[in-house]
């Protein structure tokens, strides 16, 4: 069963440079049998990155994945508040570079119209779009999206491939919110390994809409893999969640770039 990890970061790891850090991450990925890592955002994170900071973060990822092209993919970090700079980054990192996806975090809630040009362009380029979401009973950050915001975006962009980060955090509500919208996929990463999350995702979305990710280095590979290994689901579903779904979503853009997997 080949494992691809949808959700990795370079922060919180030893190493002075992005490639040193990714090298370290790959050492642990090897221990856990993970073949490929999707990496996004830089060495230190910014909630509301400036155009310069976006370039710096994406440069870090480009440098890291450039060193390990057969182990890691990059997603371009964008900020909807900076439309032109984000479109420029999309062209630089995805159209002209090796990146295969987009990462949107907490700069602006994703139901905002400012996302439209970015989603449209990313979809033209066949990039998958990863949107962080959380439903926090303790209160979201001002620009932090909920799965409900993502649903609004998905309705406006039925051809986009959208991934609901953390399945909304409060996954019992998040999974329900995205359930009717077939172009939204569930990221299992980044929450506690609470038993039942994967079973519910498979039951409500179908195994082909559920994707393993870890959110390392803040989380462990161990706790997040356990969500898939520990779930009471058929092995055929496990195979989809651990790698085949992500492969299927990335195949068009990888094909365009001449990357065979």
């Amino acid at each position: 069963m080949e494992i691809w990890d949808l959700h990795c970061h370079l922060s919180g790891l030893p190493g002075r440079t992005p490639d040193e850090r990714l090298g370290k991450l790959i050492e642990y990925a090897d221990r856990m049998g993970i073949a490929r890592l999707c990496v996004y955002m830089g060495m230190e994170w910014a909630y509301d990155p400036s155009p310069e900071k976006l370039r710096e973060d994406n440069d870090a990822v480009l440098r890291a994945i450039g060193r390990y092209p057969d182990r890691a993919f990059g997603f371009a970090y964008l900020n909807p508040k900076h439309t032109q700079a984000s479109l420029d980054e999309l062209n630089r990192c995805v159209r002209d570079g090796p990146m295969v996806g987009v990462k949107l975090w907490v700069a602006m809630r994703c139901n905002a119209p400012e996302l439209d040009p970015l989603i449209a362009r990313a979809t033209e380029l066949k990039a998958v779009i990863f949107q962080h979401t959380w439903l926090k009973i303790t209160g979201n950050l001002p620009g932090e999206s909920t799965p409900f915001d993502l649903v609004e975006l998905a309705k406006r962009h039925p051809n986009a491939t959208l991934i609901c980060g953390h399945s909304g955090g409060d996954w019992e509500r998040g999974l329900r919110a995205i359930r009717p919208h077939k172009n939204i996929f569930a990221d299992l990463a980044g929450g506690d390994p609470t038993a039942g999350v994967t079973e519910m995702a498979v039951r409500e979305l179908g195994a082909n809409r559920v994707i393993y990710g870890s959110d390392v280095a803040g989380r462990s590979f161990a706790s997040q893999l356990a969500k898939v290994y520990g779930a009471n689901i058929p092995d055929s579903s496990r195979r989809l969640i651990l790698g085949e779904n992500l492969k299927r979503l990335l195949r068009p853009i990888l094909g365009q770039k001449g990357i065979r997997v």
Partner: protein
């Protein structure tokens, strides 16, 4: 200690109040833990969080452990020192149920750690050689039920309390997500305090933990069945550990703690 031993110090029987989880049936849970290679389980009860009739909670816990455990499950009784005559409950745990230890949930039971009742409870537990397990939190604060928001236990008064009860053996459960750095070190220095790995996160978490926590204070815990029990075992695989480190965390430390508590040493 043979390497195949694995002692899980953080398990609960019965039902999580907010949802059914796989294996919230004792027989299924015991079977699953056995398949994971677990050889001994320190089991509390989810019922201990909210039930007021703690006497029946502890009686059921003892009975479930006996019926389904075949020597696997050791009961750790719930004590709520805010309930009338809790001292009798502690006596029953020790004498009637012959439990090796107790489990506390100060945040669910509504007291602070500087409450004088807790000082008395620690003293009684220490005198009777009962291990005390104190759960810092049960689930991510961000996704709690809106009508049941229970913040993590504020552990600041604990160091002083530990110094006042030097013979107490304390295991902090679910603590490594909320307790780190100097705050954690202070508690480890203040007495015979242990932590378990169920809520430890980060790549190679155990390797990093051992840089500032003494090996002999780290126990294996899964927080099953609320958490997938595979998570804790996979953490042992993710970190690069020596055979000695592995065997102490898997079972050596917990076995020594249990033996010393039971011998009153």
């Amino acid at each position: 200690m043979p390497r195949r031993e694995l002692i899980d110090v953080n398990v609960n029987l019965s039902r999580w109040p907010m949802r059914r989880v796989p294996c919230d049936d004792t027989r299924e849970l015991a079977a699953k833990l056995r398949r994971q290679g677990v050889t001994q389980v320190w089991a509390g009860s989810f019922d201990g969080l909210l039930h007021k009739d703690v006497a029946s909670v502890n009686a059921r816990l003892t009975e479930e452990c006996r019926k389904h455990g075949r020597g696997l499950l050791l009961p750790f009784g719930s004590i709520n020192p805010m309930l009338p005559d809790w001292e009798e409950e502690l006596r029953r745990c020790a004498e009637a149920h012959r439990m090796p230890g107790l489990r506390l949930h100060p945040n669910y039971h509504g007291y602070k750690l500087d409450d004088p009742a807790l000082g008395r409870l620690f003293k009684f537990a220490a005198e009777r050689g009962l291990i005390v397990q104190l759960a810092a939190i049960m689930e991510d604060e961000r996704m709690m039920h809106p009508r049941l928001r229970v913040p993590p236990v504020d552990t600041r008064p604990l160091a002083r309390l530990l110094k006042e009860t030097p013979s107490l053996r304390l295991v902090l459960l679910n603590a490594l997500g909320v307790l780190r750095g100097p705050v954690l070190s202070e508690l480890l220095d203040a007495g015979e305090t242990y932590v378990e790995i169920s809520m430890l996160e980060g790549v190679a978490g155990i390797e990093k933990l051992l840089q500032h926590v003494p090996l002999e204070r780290v126990l294996f815990g899964s927080h099953a069945p609320l958490f997938y029990c595979e998570a804790a075992r996979l953490k042992l695989k993710e970190s690069v550990l020596t055979q000695e480190q592995l065997s102490q965390i898997r079972a050596g430390n917990a076995a020594r703690l249990l033996a010393s508590a039971q011998s009153g040493a």
